[in-house]
Structures are given as structure tokens and as C-alpha cells.
Amino acid sequence: MSAYREACESGRFVVSGEIGPPKGTNVQTMLHHIDLLKDQVDGLNVTDNQSSVMRLGSLAVSHEIVSRGGDAIFQMTCRDRNRLALGSDLLSAAFLGIANVLCLTGDHPSVGDHKEAKSVYDFDSVHLIQCARKMNEGHDWAGNDLDGATNFYVGAVVTPEADPLEPQLYKFARKVEGGAQFFQTQAVYDMDHFQRFMEDARTVTEGTEVKLMAGLVVLTSLGMAKYMNRAVPGIMVPDVILEEMGGVPKEEALRKGMEICARHIRFLKENQICDGVHIMAIGKEELIPEILTMAGLAATT
């Protein structure tokens, strides 16, 4: 069983981090981040051409994490591959010892750096979840028998700050029905709102073993917070956090962002709001161990 799955199923508060592969073959910084984090967290997501920007692949990097002794959460989007390629990459992932897969729709190519690319979306995220579950049962999507089944821990995402929220909740329910076993949310900053969202989400997951992890993005400046409010759908940094970020001198903003992140982790854990957190420290991965210490979470392994 994968370390991430084991942590999720143990019932303790789970922590995952995220690795964004580089654009190019210079992997030193990425490998440094992997080595720094692999024993600090229960699992490491690897993004799949994040923001539709062409990068080193998530399959290769997920394998690298596993071979370095960490546990990888292989992100797969439906943007670039049809059902043949997705199924095949799932088998490749199983072959490479990758045990967790996170199924996403994927940003549209028009927001990335290959704007003229043909998008695929042959499957949507619900279909990809179903496909991975079918492969766990020994069948491919078309119903053919596999010579050896997979054994993935299958995850998905949900956006608590989606506006309007109701269609998002319906889709969340379809993902649960489709067989998603864990969820990581889009970044959340409004803990009251997230708490209300979790009440709705728990209604959907009642009677299942589905685990829900809050997504947290570390704020590095007031400008970053404002930018996300303006430009990133599904992320809402409330005024009170903006004031907090704006209330300190610029050079202390990063520390304030770390404090906020640690405070939210502590709040979510102590109040048992969700089952864990997924920390996205975009470009600031070296800060995660300190944030975990600030949050009162010792290394989990």
C-alpha cells in the first residue's frame, strides 16, 4: 500500500506537498525540493503541464520521487491525451511503482504557452476516475481484461470557492460516485466558508471512506493575493487576509504568508474540519518544513 494511502486510511491528519517539474532538463532544484520534502510529507503531487505550460512530464518525475523513497501523487489531466493514452499512461505509472493518481480536467491550452494546441478532453475528470477504478478491477475502459490489474489510490479535486458553488457540488458528487477515494481542494483562505463547504461535502461523502484535504497556497506578498483574486477562478482571498498581508512591511510579507498558512493548518487539524492539507508552495518549497513546524506538525515519517 502506498504511504499516502496508508496515512489517509490511518485516520491521522495527512500532509502532502507539490512538485512542479521544470521547463527544461535542469532538474537540480527540483531534485533538491524532492529530497527536502519527501520525508516531511505523506505524499508529493507532481503537476501535469501545469497551467498548460509545457514542462518535464509528471510520469517521469513521479517515478523519480518513488525511486528516491518518497510517495508520488501522479497528476493526470484530460487535456493532452485521449482515452487510449490515458489508459496506457496509467499502466506505465503502475509499472513504474506509482501508487496514487490525481485526476483533473486540466487548464485549457489557451491559458498556457502553446496556445495553438488542439485540446483533447476525450474524457472528463469523472471518466478518468472511473477508468482508473476499472483498471484496479482488472479491466480497461473498453471492458477488455487486463493481464494484471493496477492498484491505484484514486484522487480528484474540488473547488470550494467556485462561483456558483452548486454545479461544483453536483460534479463533486459525480466524482465520489465515480470512485474517487481522496480529494484535494483548490486553494482556500476563508476558513469559515471552507467549514460550510465541508459540511456540504461531508453530506455527499457520508457512508464512504473518502478523504478530503484542504488545498493551501502559501502567500508570498499582498500583490500575489490580489492577483489570485483578480485572475485565478475559484480562488478567493478574503479582505481580512488581504489586510493582514498589507499590514506588514514588504520584506515581512513572506513570513506573514507562512504564518497564515501554518495557522490555517492548525485550525483545520484542531477542529477536525478536514482529513489533511495539501500545501502548494509554488516556487517556495524550501519553506514547507518550517511551516509544518510552525503548525505543530512534526515530520510524519
Partner: protein, 228 residues
């Protein structure tokens, strides 16, 4: 209606670089409505080509560019010009341009870019609502097509890019999933939202599509006698 836009005249002149003589074909249907290949645009194109030093040896409108038989008839009517011309410039959709291809061995050049199958909201405003996927699923979605109107063609709900009811790809466009949701709620058919829809069969129509008249069954079989 096939929605098209005019190609820039520079691009057309470049395509016709080696041709001194041109025959222009317009279309009386979609290209007339979208003002990309009606009589007025054909006349304007004639003037523009002449200004660029081309000799326009003939112009005509076909009732609909996609009618290959009509198109061949028109080319026969213009036999001399059709033989004299080095190139045909077609102000119709890509289908119309290929109808001309069927009727001549000369250089055939498109004068428009075909965009989509569009609904006419009002003169000059068109919206794509159907993408001819081969198996209509509108009943599942309150007669609002997610295959076409969701930028990602998602079949089971919105992506994380829904932004205050608009699409992340183009904030001018409504999120199809918000519209579908509202519509099914209005109709009291939320059960359609609470259902996992399978992925599309993209080979319902083997591309390129082709439909031919069904062969008539022999009388004995038509009477119901099944072969063993």
C-alpha cells in the same frame, strides 16, 4: 448556417501570385448572409483583384456552394471563361470551395475562412451551439450542448475555471454548465444533473462523414422473411 470570415486580401493575392486570370464564385446561402460571399462581396472582390492587376474573366453566384450539381452546371454555363481562367477564387465555405474542386482541374483558392456552424442571434452576431457530434445528447442537458458550449466539452459538470458564471477561456462567454444547471433546475429535472454521463463515442460517424440512400430491400425480405 456556416459562419465564415473574409480572408485578408493580401493572403488571397499571395495565393493567386502565379495566376493572371481569375474566375470568382460566390454563394447564395450562408456566405451571402454572413456577407463573405454574396453578390456585393463578389463585386468588391472583382474590383480588388483588378486593382491588384488580375484579369477577372468571370463571376457567378451558385445558389448554395455545397450543391455540387448546381456548381458543375454553372461551370458548364461559363464554359469559355472556365477554360480561359487559370484560377477559381471561391467566396464560400470550405465545402463550397471543394465543390468547385469537383468541377475543374484548375487552381482553386478559398477566399474565406470557415469558422463554425452558427446560430444567428441578430445580423452579424453568430454563436456556435452545435458541433455535429453525431449523437445528440441535448435531452440530457436541458437542450444546452456541453459538447459545444463548454470550452472543454465536459459532460459531467463544470471545471474549476467557472468564474462568476463565465468561462475561464473567455470571460465574455457564459459557462455552459451554469446555464445547464439553471435550466434543469427550472424544469425540475435535477435528476439529469445527478447522473454520470459516459464519454462521447467519437466514431458514431466515421470521418470523413458519408451518407448514401439506403438500398431498397428485395420484396421477399421487405415482407418480413428473415434469412436464417
Amino acid at each position: 448556417m456556416i459562419i465564415a470570415k473574409k480572408k485578408p486580401i493580401e493572403e488571397i493575392i499571395e495565393s493567386l501570385a502565379t495566376d493572371k486570370t481569375v474566375f470568382i464564385v460566390g454563394c447564395g446561402e450562408c456566405a451571402t448572409v454572413t456577407q463573405t460571399g454574396g453578390e456585393k462581396e463578389v463585386a468588391e472582390m472583382k474590383a480588388a483583384l483588378e486593382a491588384a492587376g488580375k484579369k477577372v474573366v468571370g463571376v457567378d453566384m451558385v445558389a448554395a456552394g455545397c450543391q455540387e450539381l448546381d456548381l458543375k452546371r454553372i461551370l458548364r454555363q461559363h464554359k469559355e471563361a472556365a477554360e480561359e481562367t487559370e484560377a477559381f477564387l471561391v467566396l464560400s465555405c470550405g465545402a463550397g470551395t471543394q465543390s468547385v474542386r469537383e468541377g475543374t482541374q484548375k487552381h482553386v483558392v478559398p477566399g474565406t475562412d470557415s469558422l463554425f456552424l452558427g446560430n444567428i442571434k441578430r445580423a452579424g452576431t453568430y454563436e456556435e451551439k452545435c458541433s455535429l457530434c453525431g449523437k445528440c445528447v441535448l435531452d440530457e442537458y436541458g437542450a444546452i450542448c456541453p459538447v459545444t458550449r463548454c470550452a472543454k466539452g465536459l459532460l459531467n459538470g463544470p471545471c474549476g475555471g467557472t468564474n462568476h458564471g463565465k468561462c475561464e477561456v473567455d470571460p465574455e462567454k457564459d459557462c455552459a454548465w451554469v446555464l445547464i444547471h439553471q435550466q434543469l433546475r427550472k424544469e425540475g429535472r435535477e435528476d439529469k444533473l445527478a447522473r454520470v454521463h459516459p464519454p462521447k463515442d467519437w466514431n458514431v460517424v466515421a470521418r470523413p462523414g458519408r451518407v448514401v440512400p439506403a438500398k431498397e430491400e428485395p420484396a421477399t425480405e421487405a415482407a418480413g422473411a428473415k434469412k436464417p
